[in-house]
Subunit: 232 residues, 2 copies
DNA sequence: TCCAATTATTGACATTTATCAAGCGAGCGC
DNA sequence: GCGCTCGCTTGATAAATGTCAATAATTGGA
């Protein structure tokens, strides 16, 4: 690992509180790699060999069963994924593949578990991170069980709008077929859902989203911090 | 708190590794209470004042949005719930209510966070518990996104059968309307799903479940450890 | 620049799931 | 025991969502 990579990883809340020594030991065994798009990085069911950190590009987490596949989350820099499997030394529950050309830091799970056992600050940071992950999956579950597909789309768009500082127009930073899978619907259905939101001031042209009347959309979407607020 | 209650709580993996002193301090501020059925213990959105531990009876976690409600999980003795909210000092994402008459130990969240900051073994135990919770919600999410309602029911029954040591006949330990909500369907649909499983050797009479040909049911359900195995 | 491949959209239709309404039946208090 | 409530079931119907097929739009090389 180069010093610039190490410095970047060090910035993460997960590693910020670690002692220099322990961080040194942890990153010594790690390495950095750049992957082309559409590379399957990990496969669900496999033993968790590495903790992954995305430093560039983007990665999707997905799961499959009986020939079906669904997207569970997108991971963008600077974040880790599959921390729970690493810590528990349990098999991955999700697969991961690069969406675009991506750079990843890989830290051997063994070293991560060692660091976890030695460094109390790190152990506490792991708790914070896991609690965050847990709550985000719970919110996702609520989203899917309590809302129709149109409501999920409406709320997704409002969240993206917030993410873009409330701009009237912004980029959809995800392919539509992926968005459909993430929202738990088919691409065909997403197309129709987008049309159904037109009366609420939503226009999507390619990847350009335009929300002309946010109030109107909000009245349909009824966003709730307990589902839609990522930090809450 | 009585000594018998304290001893029981101490058995939990979460508290087993704590020092006696820290455990003493933590439980000093706690108390035990018995609640009648159908009492709402916590409400989503409220600040997390207590870590809850079920020592008797059963509690359901549920979430509501826009007049709809869905059951997220059942908590049975001996388990804690809303650990993530307590540790993060964040509002509850789910509500909880007693299903039957239940006894609960309540530990002030403040004291739990103190213990977490002081006791390294406890902090590590919290990680294990949270990682477990996280993985179980991920499995749940996969279950809902990848399977139809009939497949979810079939797998639920197979899991219950395993839980009952593979007995041909066993008790459904949950009301059907709750099961329906847990599985993400309406009670009407659950009734029909049960009927649809008859050709696969499933008979449900009241709360008595009978699976005459497990192999047949398995071939439909296609259970996977990455979704259905609670310990995996 | 154009071609090939992928993705997105649309329409017709099938399936799944929900809703509404009615009736059944076990459990409970009087 | 009687009647009441509540949960469960069933049927009819509606709404939501998925599938299939065809076409349009987009993208990324050659």
């Amino acid at each position: 690992m180069r010093t610039t990579d190490i410095a970047e990883v060090r910035k993460l809340p997960l590693f910020r509180g670690m002692s220099d020594d322990n961080f040194e030991t942890l990153t010594r065994g790690g390495y950095v790699q750049t992957f082309p798009p559409q590379v399957e990085l990990i496969t669900e069911g496999d033993p968790s060999d590495f903790l992954h950190i995305v430093t560039d590009g983007s990665v999707e987490l997905f799961a499959a069963w009986n020939g079906r596949e669904t997207m569970m989350a997108t991971v963008r820099p600077l974040s880790t994924f599959i921390l729970a499997a690493t810590i528990k030394d349990a098999p991955y529950l999700m697969s991961a593949r690069t969406i675009e050309k991506s750079r990843l830091v890989l830290l051997p799970s063994l070293d991560v578990r060692d660091a976890f056992n030695i460094d109390n600050n790190f152990a506490r940071a792991v708790v914070t991170e896991l609690a965050q992950c847990y709550r985000s999956v719970v919110k996702n579950s609520k989203n899917i069980k309590l809302r129709t597909s149109i409501e999920r789309l409406a709320n997704y768009l409002i969240r993206q709008r917030t993410y873009n500082d409330g701009a009237e127009e912004f980029e959809l930073r995800i392919e539509k077929r992926r968005l459909a899978s993430y929202l738990g619907m088919t691409p065909e259905n997403l197309s129709r859902a987008i049309k159904a939101l037109r009366p609420y001031g939503v226009t999507i042209n390619g990847s350009q989203v335009r929300i002309s009347d946010p109030q109107d959309l909000v009245s349909l979407a009824k966003p709730s911090p307990l589902i839609d607020d990522p930090s809450h």
